[in-house]
Symmetry: C2
């Protein structure tokens, strides 16, 4: 038996070391497209996140630290925000309504906070309620430590699963060698809390002495997309790879998603920083992009408004300035399409309760995807 095992090992090592220079599945331009975009909220700068209220108004986070309420064609700046540390990729980031928002009024958002010891800031999660044009009932639910003046990799998307758990991502803050593989440190993690900010007693590391007990999975780089699968209820994320190797993952409790031990990316300098793309005990991504598209925002199409897109996954591309449509079969990407090429840096994508898909595009505003007439 021995020789066969060796041969098998050799084969695995060989294939995993083969440096891929692009994805096997290329993103194609659609042959024809039945939809177009309509600018519904103009004049925004970097609208990082969007939330759609029951009265059809929209809450928009501007990375620079503004919360804008767009209602009946008018923008109102909402007061009552916490102090926000605006630097590099960080600032005021995602926003999400509680699943029972209509009853409890809770609005969740992520931001870089300068609170606590040390210069700089780190990612925090707060919930609050909207009272006219200001926030009330502010409760900080999480604040990553330590603060740092680094401007990279804050995360920080927010999602609820079907059980009402709050999930959010915090990137590794540019400290790949100390944060993502260490459960005693914040950064490079997906977190899970109860909606009130307390730690579920069955979180995976609650009994690990010294661990950050809010951690649900680790070994992440910089996840800026997170969404609930409309059928399975699973939490899907994507994250920025280094150069190549942006990933899509389905988040499972206690799992290690490998960064920086394994990756399909290379350093921006062109040198490889790791020779391996897989390792026992580390999850393989469901999909990876080579070259990187620099993904931000993520939504499944679930609505009857786009019959040909139903079940597809949409991902914003910051780098190539289009909306990527991924067609999946049995959790495998089988086709990729570039929608709305040259629209601009797509920062967020969401399907709203009205069944329409909205895109936030940097330097432009919020677009609605509508049928061509």
């Amino acid at each position: 038996m021995k020789p066969i095992y060796n041969l098998l090992t050799l084969f695995i090592v060989y294939t995993s070391c083969a440096q891929q220079t692009e994805s096997e599945i290329k993103a194609e331009s659609p042959v024809n497209i039945e939809y177009t975009t309509e600018l519904v909220v103009p004049d925004l700068n970097i609208a990082w996140g969007m939330a759609f209220l029951p009265d059809e108004s929209i809450l928009v986070t501007e990375k620079s630290g503004e919360l804008i309420h767009f209602k009946d064609g008018t923008k109102t700046t909402i007061s009552g925000l916490p102090e926000i540390y605006v630097r590099g990729q960080g600032g005021f980031m995602d926003i999400k309504l509680h699943p029972d928002y209509e009853n409890n009024g809770w609005i969740y958002f992520s931001y870089a906070s300068p609170e606590g010891e040390g210069e700089g800031g780190n990612t925090a999660i707060m919930r609050a309620k909207l009272n006219g044009s200001s926030l009330s009932n502010q409760e900080q639910l999480y604040k990553a430590v330590p603060n740092t003046t680094k401007g990279q990799h804050f995360g920080s998307r927010i999602e609820f699963d079907n059980e009402g758990y709050l999930f959010f991502s915090i990137g590794e803050r540019g400290q790949r060698d100390i944060n993502p593989q260490d459960i005693n440190r914040d950064g490079g993690k997906i977190y899970r809390l109860h909606a009130d900010g307390t730690v579920p007693t069955d979180n995976p590391f609650v009994n690990n002495s010294g661990a950050k007990t809010a951690i649900y999975s680790y070994g992440h780089r910089n996840p800026q997309g997170m969404t609930k699968h409309p059928e399975t209820g699973a939490i899907w994320t994507h994250e920025h790879g280094p150069q190549g190797g942006d990933e899509i993952n389905i988040i499972q409790k206690s799992k290690n998603y490998g960064w920086p031990v394994i990756s399909y990316g290379i350093n921006y300098s062109g040198t490889t920083f790791t020779d391996i793309t897989q390792k026992e005990g580390m999850e393989q991504p469901l999909f990876y992009w080579i070259p990187s598209i620099a993904p931000s925002g993520m939504a499944f199409v679930n609505s009857d408004n786009y019959p040909n897109w139903k079940g597809n996954l949409l991902v914003g591309s910051l780098k190539f300035q289009y909306l990527e449509r991924l067609i999946l079969e049995n959790n495998k990407v089988v086709k990729r399409e570039k929608l709305f090429e040259s629209i601009g840096r797509v920062r967020d994508v969401r399907q709203a309760p009205d069944g329409y898909i909205y895109l936030s595009v940097e330097g432009k505003g919020i677009y609605k995807i509508v049928p061509k007439n």
Copy 2:
């Protein structure tokens, strides 16, 4: 100043000791009533609880230990129930859907369980999912101890508040002198858990050594009504008093509702068991019934289907066999009305998602309250 204080004290003592023999507000028969009842689920025995599914079918708990799914005019008995201890007032009791049932499928129910040490049983809470005609994913979330063969005071209504917390009641199991005032013991309590059955870390007694940490309030007798106020989101309960002194309470964290130290009731023998109706550190009821109506089931009218009843509280009367309608102003009962006199022992009352009010009546079935034509 001294004499004035003394006079005031005397006045308070005097009024609180005056034995009332009936409520100041009498229940009246309505002058005319625009509604009538229509039997929608016939041939039930003691249908303790009802839950209305999104497909407009109804889940009904029979106290004898059966879960019935009434759909398109047909009853199906659902399998997969836990072992149920049927004795006295106990058996299969309340049922409630998770607020996000459409996404997660969780059904919560209360029952007397014989599990664990000792003869008899005690109140338990389970959640499970409905798969065709059987339950799956059963998770027992709570089981009161110790078991006892006493047949009294199991509670046990279930409600969710707007934050997604699970509340339920457990009666004092006929042991008024040892259970309701002792937070180290189950019984005579309102409990609060996360929807997954874990104890919220900000429950009031989590840091009391030996305490049952799921307890949210104590000093209750036998609460068989619990409902969320549609405007404030507060949890309202009612409970059976001894003879006279049935109460309505709004549940507040860590509060002592007084049983058996204070009560407006008297023993069934006619002797008083407590001379006092109020005491510092114990909550006064929002309302109390003298004589007892033996309340079961509780619902606020919120629907546009009953314009004259909007904001009113409905309570079933087991003893006098009618539905009581309570008109409230600033959380005070200002008027009481007897609806559907002689309909039978009203065990449960709920407003369904269709906006109609349904009554479960012992030995008869489930009635819908509809406009007279």
